[in-house]
């Protein structure tokens, strides 16, 4: 088994095919989208592949250390061009191709007009602990 992070971006990725902001959808389309996402997570729990999922607020700030005794320096909110993560799902699956398959399904969540979003999701493998057997 290997863990993968499926990252959803508010912006920063390539433009999705069905690119209409959510506040321009109908209420029914929003409900259908939410339902799809919930069903997806529930199904992965059922197959034993779901690990974690979390949505993030678009508010974000860069922070860094600014020396002993000084408060940290902050920068932000992010410029409109910066990559902005919207949320993630962690899955634990047998193969990389399974991870891609699931990301593809998640990207097909319905959007405006009930049509699939074709949203770009980023798939990132977890780095793991070293194996016990090395030769």
């Amino acid at each position: 088994m290997a863990k993968y992070l499926l990252l959803k971006h508010y912006r920063g990725g390539p433009t999705p095919v069905n690119d209409v902001p959510m506040d321009r959808w109908t209420e029914e389309e929003i409900a259908a989208h939410m339902q799809y996402m919930n069903d997806f997570a529930t199904r992965l729990e059922g197959t034993g592949e779901f690990v974690d999922g979390q949505a993030l607020s678009p508010e974000g700030t860069f922070v860094r250390y600014d020396g002993e005794g000084r408060p940290p320096v902050t920068d932000g909110p992010f410029a409109e061009t910066k990559d902005l993560i919207a949320g993630w799902m962690v899955i634990d699956v047998d193969t990389y191709s399974r991870a891609l398959e699931l990301a593809g399904e998640l990207s097909a969540a319905p959007g405006a007009g009930g049509r699939p979003l074709h949203e770009w999701l980023e798939v990132r493998p977890f780095l793991t602990a070293p194996p016990t057997v090395t030769e």
Partner: protein
């Protein structure tokens, strides 16, 4: 015996161990162990005297732990002493335990965790699940909290207001999980009310009951939020409402008003209205005025603006809004609502979109996005 009744015995038993000489941290651990054993054994061997059984087993667990810890000589000496005659579980102990677990030296998160474990008798795992953190993290939070209050004398006088704030947090930040934190907060507040006669304790209990009564109507089957005005009031729990109103009236009759009583009064006025249209907004505004005098909180001012908008029209509501800082959470949502009522659909839609971006929970974000979508769709027609 059901789990709630078993857990209700927890504070009294901890109190007995502390009075026999155990320090709070060790007593609390011992009682947790005894509870675990009770859950395992009682289904097949129900005790005749549940409290007595728990005291005996917890005391034995405490002695075992003390013996195992040979470096702690003071406690070793204690082991050889006969326990003092059992004073029995007392209500004073229960109250002292609430004070200790909500001690002002603790952070809110620590006080919540410690209260749920020591007063509520929940396991660390249950509390961890409820707050969506790993069990090891919650275990550390609880043991740190116990170290912080280690030097506090068990019978030190406490402030019931700090306890109420902790219980309010448990009720209001109820996450999902196996444990129903809202119900647990109600149980703990009920138990507190039984040991201390104070109007604000009653006020908080009434507030919780009146809000809990609406829970079945608050979400749709798909989990989405239903605002108060659109809730199916037939699904409100009338038994809880009756109880909440009675408790509130008794408290209000004593004429020692406080924040929780005033908030409960607002909830009671909503409960009184058979339809949203029948809501007595004028009285609700009066209660918000009272709350403003009591707390001067900007959140109260924001809620008051909504009530003013209903009582005196959207223009009056928008006017009330001009005196509030726009950076306040939910400001945009309230402004959107009032602008929509005022007929300015375009501004309302923009504000709902803005409010959705600022939302701090998913349900609210989805709800606000839907509001924006609804108005945008209307405008396209």
């Amino acid at each position: 015996m059901d789990e709630h009744r078993l857990r209700a015995l927890t504070p009294g038993v901890i109190g007995v161990l502390v009075r026999r000489g155990a320090d709070f941290a060790a007593a609390e651990d011992a009682v947790q162990d005894a509870l675990v054993e009770a859950v395992r054994r009682w289904p097949t061997e129900p005790p005749r005297d549940a409290t007595g059984w728990l005291i005996t087993v917890a005391w034995r667990k405490f002695l075992d732990a003390a013996r195992a810890d040979a470096s702690r000589r003071r406690r070793e000496e204690l082991v050889d002493e006969q326990p003092a005659p059992d004073p029995g579980a007392s209500t004073d102990d229960t109250l002292q335990l609430y004070f200790l677990c909500a001690h002002p030296s603790l952070t809110p998160a620590s006080a919540v965790a410690l209260t749920l474990r020591a007063v509520g008798g929940l396991t660390t795992r249950q509390i961890a699940q409820a707050y969506l953190v790993p069990e090891a993290t919650m275990a550390q939070r609880i043991s740190r909290a116990k170290r912080i209050v280690a030097d506090v004398k068990f019978d030190e006088a406490g402030d019931v207001a700090t306890v109420l704030r902790v219980l309010y947090l448990v009720f209001n930040e109820g996450y999902s999980g196996d444990v129903d934190l809202a119900a647990e907060a109600i149980r703990l507040t009920r138990q507190l009310k039984a040991v201390i006669d104070q109007e604000e304790v009653a006020g908080l209990l009434a507030l919780m009951l009146l809000h809990h009564a609406r829970r079945p109507a608050r979400t749709r089957p798909d989990g989405s939020l239903v605002p108060l005005a659109h809730q199916d009031r037939g699904r409100w729990d009338t038994r809880l409402i009756t109880e909440g109103v009675e408790i509130l009236q008794t408290a209000l009759a004593r004429d020692r008003i406080g924040e929780f009583q005033a908030q409960a009064a607002v909830a009671a006025l909503h409960a009184d209205a058979r339809t949203a249209e029948e809501t007595d907004w004028v009285q609700i505004v009066e209660w918000y005025d009272e709350l403003t005098r009591l707390t001067d909180s900007p959140i109260i001012a924001l809620n008051r603006a909504v009530a003013v908008g209903e009582a005196d029209g959207s223009r009056a509501g928008l006017a009330a809004l001009t005196r509030i800082e726009p950076t306040l959470p939910r400001f945009a949502a309230v402004a959107a609502y009032l602008h929509e009522r005022d007929g300015d659909v375009a501004t309302a839609a923009t504000l709902y979109t803005e409010a959705a971006l600022q939302a701090t929970n998913l349900q609210e974000r989805d709800h606000l996005t839907r509001q924006a979508a609804r108005l945008n769709a209307d405008r396209r027609r």
